[in-house]
């Protein structure tokens, strides 16, 4: 099943990896993107996943295994279904009446579309950062504390807000104006605030839907550095239409092509230097898309 996507590597090493993580010594690649990364456990797996919007098929028979605490990039031309896939993972597509799903999407082995799965609880494990910064029209502090409050988490709000803003590399810029409106921040700061907001509730996975596409190059580079750091603690799945960005920040890359087909999934280096499929090579080298 996974032969075409090149992910069958996980099994031999996953036991070792999970033992390491129990001991707290898991080494998350410093050489990210610069060679084959030690495989870890699969966090998210799709099996024969189809997604339809009314009669239009947005994803076709997608099979993929996304490894823990790595950055997995989804690339492909507009309309290829990469965002649809991302939104299927935390069931944000439930909010679209017309969306219909077939096949399986497993989070830690559990199909998230099973009857007994509560999408609200699922989204507490799988956070999301959107294409356009979307802070709430509230103070900076309240934005970060929002998830803690709706999830009724018994934590020291002050401390979690500070830590989250530090992890999102925003603390130094906003520590003296936590009670000011988040809407007064620049676009890049707002997006880092949204990342802080997502990590404040301590999810396992962070989904990012083109998080830098609305930002200028400097803000983009800050976000990219941040994503690199986040993979120490979280599994990051990022959709991007920027191939250089995928090459810079990801460990694994999935290439979706028109029609909602996942054509190739492998280590990022392999995808960019020696892809299996001619169509992927054509896309990577800019012959289309």
């Amino acid at each position: 099943m996974a032969s075409e996507t090149g992910t069958e590597v996980t099994d031999e090493t996953s036991t070792e990896a999970s033992e390491q993580s129990l001991l707290g010594t898991t080494e998350v690649a410093d050489d990210r993107g610069a060679g084959p990364v030690a495989s870890t456990e699969t966090v998210i797996e799709a099996r024969h996943l189809d997604v339809f919007y009314d009669d239009v098929q947005a994803l076709q028979d997608v099979n993929i295994e996304i490894p823990e605490k790595q950055v997995t990039a989804m690339i492909g031309p507009s309309g290829c279904g990469k965002s649809t896939f991302l939104r299927s993972i935390n069931r944000m597509n439930d909010l679209v009446d017309a969306a219909r799903i077939e096949g399986e999407l497993l989070f830690r082995g559990k199909n998230v579309y099973d009857e007994d799965v509560d999408p609200v609880a699922l989204r507490r494990k799988i956070g999301m950062v959107f294409q356009h910064p979307n802070p709430f029209p509230k103070s900076i502090f309240d934005n970060v504390a929002y998830g803690l409050r709706v999830q009724d988490m018994d934590v020291d709000e002050q401390q979690v807000v500070e830590e989250s803003l530090k992890k999102a590399a925003l603390w130094d810029e906003v520590k003296d104006q936590l009670d000011q409106s988040a809407l007064d921040l620049s676009g890049g700061q707002q997006q880092r605030l949204c990342i802080a907001r997502a990590i404040a509730v301590d999810p396992e996975v962070i989904l990012m839907d083109e998080p830098a596409s609305a930002l200028d190059p400097i803000a983009t580079s800050k976000i990219e550095d941040l994503i690199d750091d986040l993979a120490e603690d979280y599994t990051v799945v990022i959709v991007t239409h920027n191939m250089q960005q995928a090459a810079r920040i990801s460990d694994k890359t999935a290439v979706f092509l028109t029609g909602g087909e996942l054509v190739e999934f492998d280590d990022t280096e392999k995808i960019f230097e020696n892809p299996e499929h001619q169509r992927v090579e054509d896309y990577i080298t800019g012959k289309f898309g």
């Binding site: 959107f130 029209p137 997502a198």
Partner: protein, 312 residues
């Protein structure tokens, strides 16, 4: 002059087109001026007649007087009327504001497109029912029904009028609030869902706060409508001009009261001499009513301005 440039200079065809344009402009302007002039004329007559009234009855006696008995005692204290208006406005607000906002939340956040497409127009029909129908509905159905709960209720009473005025303004609250909630960008809802919020939390912690200025505006507009409402209160609330005791709203609601609008109707349809003091008092009440709704509109604009959320 070349043939090309001849086309663009003022000649007969171009001149007649310009003349037509000016005529159209004048017609549109005249229509605009008409409504402004009418407003000015109404305010001017209100003021001039109210001022003649106040030259005979001191304005402080009018505004602070606690007895309204124009024809029998010649007593023109407007407070009983104002207190009755406020009582009914308060009663209708208790009915309409919560129900209106909750309806708006349902329509905007919970209802499917299909449900909304049926429910919203139905609610708007409620707004199109003539108020005289509401008035008799209050008198003929609501009051007897209330009588089974409160046997001491009068035939004409503030409670029945309040409930029905409240029902009448629900669509105003729900419709304007729903527009404000629908205008809240979806990106904010998604952000909230993405953080593990339930639909109820998304509605209460994101949508309602972001739409608060529109919700306030709907309140003010609906309350202005309740204050100015005439038919329902004239038919159902009665004409007993009593000063409401704020410490005993219960008995106030169960008895007959006379709001400002009802008092104006009662004077207008009685056979008072058009030059008489009683007749002129009509304008003084009218001006007071206008002042109240005007202040509410100003407050509404200030509130909307103050709480306007900018999303980007």
């Amino acid at each position: 002059m070349s043939s090309e440039t001849r086309d663009i200079v003022t000649d007969e065809t171009n001149a007649s087109r310009t003349a037509k344009e000016q005529t159209y402009r004048a017609i549109f302007l005249a229509c605009g001026i008409l409504s402004v002039l009418t407003t000015v004329a109404i305010i001017a007559t209100l003021f001039s007649d109210a001022l003649t009234f106040w030259s005979e009855v001191p304005i402080e006696d009018f505004l602070l007087g606690t007895n309204w008995s124009p024809q029998i005692e010649g007593s023109y204290g407007v407070l009983p009327l104002v207190s009755a208006t406020l009582l009914i406005t308060f009663g209708s607000a208790v009915v309409a504001l919560p129900i209106g906002v909750l309806t708006a939340i349902y329509l905007s956040e919970y209802a499917s497109d299909r449900t909304r497409s049926i429910l919203k127009p139905t609610l708007e029909i409620l707004a199109g029912v003539p108020t005289v129908v509401y008035g008799f509905f209050a008198l003929v159905y609501v009051t007897p029904a209330l009588g089974t709960i409160f046997p001491s209720i009068s035939t004409f009473n503030a409670l029945s009028a309040s409930l029905v005025v409240g029902i009448m303004i629900i669509p105003m609250v729900s419709s304007i609030s729903e527009d404000a909630m629908s205008a809240v960008p979806d990106s904010l809802r998604q952000a909230s869902y993405g953080l593990g919020a339930t639909k109820f939390e998304v509605s209460t912690t994101v949508v309602v706060p972001a739409a608060i200025s529109g919700i306030f505006s709907s309140f003010i507009l609906a309350l202005s409508r309740a204050i100015g409402e005439t038919m329902i209160v004239t038919i159902a609330a009665g004409s007993n001009a009593r000063l409401i005791d704020p410490l005993d709203p219960f008995s106030a609601f169960l008895n007959s009261v006379e709001p400002m609008t009802a008092a104006m109707i009662n004077i207008g349809k009685s056979d008072v001499d058009p030059g008489s003091l009683t007749y002129k008092s009509l304008f003084a009440i009218g001006l007071t009513l206008f002042a109240i709704t005007f202040v509410m509109n100003v407050v509404s604009n200030l509130v909307a301005e103050r709480y306007r959320e900018e999303y980007e």
